[in-house]
Symmetry: C2
Subunit: 346 residues, 2 copies
């Protein structure tokens, strides 16, 4: 049962207690109560607002953030999941979109604050984030999102590629923040889910790319795509123009700092528990730029997939039905494991 | 006496033991031996290399870095001082420049490393820095610098303005790293020597500028120039597009982080002892950019002074003869004190 407390935490949504247009009254979903993940079949259908759509989830991906939430990165109670591909099943304001296969931008801005009015909705101070903050997520039979968040998926992109649009957009965000040219030496720290996508998305720049990979399977996967790898201890000092930290633990900061040249750039992509100690004066002396980088726009990600420029499907390691969600999470949490998918409807 | 150990530390220079072209054999200078600052009159004249010039110092400024060195920021033994205006008295490779009034770029690159070859001499890994690393500085009757480091000072810029070229160049470096437009809200933390110059140099952008000033005199000086000030506790959260940290202590990082909006920029200008604890994941979530900023090119600074766009002279708080250097340092170290100058020759 969803308590009133749950509804308070996820204040922006109410859950439909009655039968929906599709004839369902309750739905199956994974439910995370702080660190306890369970499958439930008694959850009310999400109710879509007037400018929103109800989406039947087809496939969803487990991401590092989901694992962090399940590890207590911050208090979370609700349905997690934010990487998905699905089909619109209800859209009062745009009935012509019903049946459309879509992926969804996960940030929902208030539309009224300074950030929203300046076109920076992803940084709305009051935002809800699908499966992360204030809005139930994609590890469910259904989810609701504003229509404008939902991007149609071209036929050329199958479900197993489309489910990568959200993390690929996050990887491509780096290139919307920073121009990387072909003569630059770039190091990606981390060859996990995000590191793999970042490395693949950087290949098109023609830059001199290397990736710090901890696990042999991750390394092989990259090398098969023509991307050079090295171990942590092999990273030369001050040798890179750009270092992208996607390693997912505080120790990677130190490695990034050692690897970057003076006047170079460190891009931070990973989030983790805990803070790092930074010698701010040395950042000044060496004129280092540090860029925090989170989500990105969906359109370029869909385009790259449609054009076949990036194929993320080799990253898929396992597929589980939604009902086996807890086992899928356990699999995804194993060291070195890449993408684990949850099949919801097909 | 200069011991052989001193010569080793300052390996790039040797000191002339014999009578120089100017008839001097020994010179007066301030000598810093870790934290002990003394006036000495037994120091050998600096010997200028083939592509270098010998400069008679006229006026020198005491900067925060000098005070930090005297406080043991890192081990230093030699003649400090790097803000100066002087006259070329010897220049074997360019005799036509003798008599020229000059200011000097303080970084001396090796000319051979990757940074130097890429035109980033200020970040040469083997660089010497006037009065800071490997080269005796400006709190002396004479100094030596490569000819290419020395920029002539136009007549329109008097000595008391010219002595600010180095710190003004450092302030202007921000604008060579970051475009600041007139609609942006910019906060400068710190209204000391560097903060004052940064604020004045930003005025020309027309940006919406505010300065966190701790001391009443600093505040009055800025307000007299039409720059708005506020106290630390009055800084609104997340309200600034750009925050420039020139406060000089680790606590300012926290203030900068609170003041900047999501997707905003923090420019780090101050160096101090100790490190700061940084929530790297929050930098990712808010997509904050942090830019370390140190020295800048001299030409734009000389130009702004010559055009009268910036007048740094109101910052001068006291003038001392070189012989009273230790007293001048003590004065400069008092809280809230701005620029203290040392008159060497006139």
């Amino acid at each position: 049962m969803v308590s009133s407390e749950d509804r308070d935490r996820f204040g922006s949504i109410t859950m439909q207690q009655s039968t929906s247009a599709n004839g369902f009254s309750k739905m199956k979903a994974l439910w995370l109560d702080n660190s306890r993940l369970v499958l439930r079949d008694d959850l009310p259908m999400p109710k879509s607002g007037p400018e929103e759509a109800l989406v039947a989830v087809r496939l969803a991906g487990i991401c590092g953030t989901d694992l962090a939430l399940a590890n207590g990165y911050y208090p979370f109670r609700g349905i997690p999941g934010h990487e998905f591909v699905g089909k619109i099943v209800q859209a009062a304001a745009a009935p012509e979109r019903v049946g459309q296969r879509v992926v969804g931008e996960i940030n929902i801005g208030c539309g009224r604050c300074r950030a929203c009015l300046a076109g920076r909705e992803r940084h709305c101070e009051n935002r809800n984030v699908l499966g992360i903050r204030g809005r139930h997520g994609a590890f469910a039979e259904f989810l609701a999102l504003p229509l404008k968040n939902l991007a149609p998926v071209p036929l050329a992109v199958d479900d197993e590629a489309a489910v990568f649009v959200e993390p690929l957009a996050a990887a491509l965000q780096i290139q919307s923040q920073l121009t990387i040219s072909s003569d630059e030496r770039v190091l990606v720290i981390g060859a996990g889910r995000l590191g793999q996508l970042i490395a693949r998305s950087l290949q098109a720049t023609g830059c001199r790319l290397q990736v710090v990979a901890r696990h042999l399977t991750q390394r092989r996967l990259l090398e098969r795509s023509g991307i050079g790898c090295l171990g942590e201890s092999e990273v030369p000092a001050g040798a890179y123009d750009v270092v992208i930290e996607a390693g997912g633990d505080p120790g990677c900061w130190k490695l990034a700092r050692q690897a970057v040249r003076a006047q170079g750039v460190i891009v931070l992509k990973s989030t983790y528990r805990g803070s790092v100690r930074v010698d701010a004066s040395a950042l000044v002396a060496d004129e280092i730029t540090v860029i925090g980088s989170r989500c990105g726009p969906f359109a370029p990600a869909v385009k790259r997939l449609a054009e076949g420029q990036i194929d993320p499907r080799p990253l898929i390691e396992a597929r589980y039905p939604l009902a086996e969600g807890p086992a899928a999470f356990a699999h995804a949490a194993r060291p070195g494991v890449l993408k684990v998918l949850l099949r919801v409807t097909s």
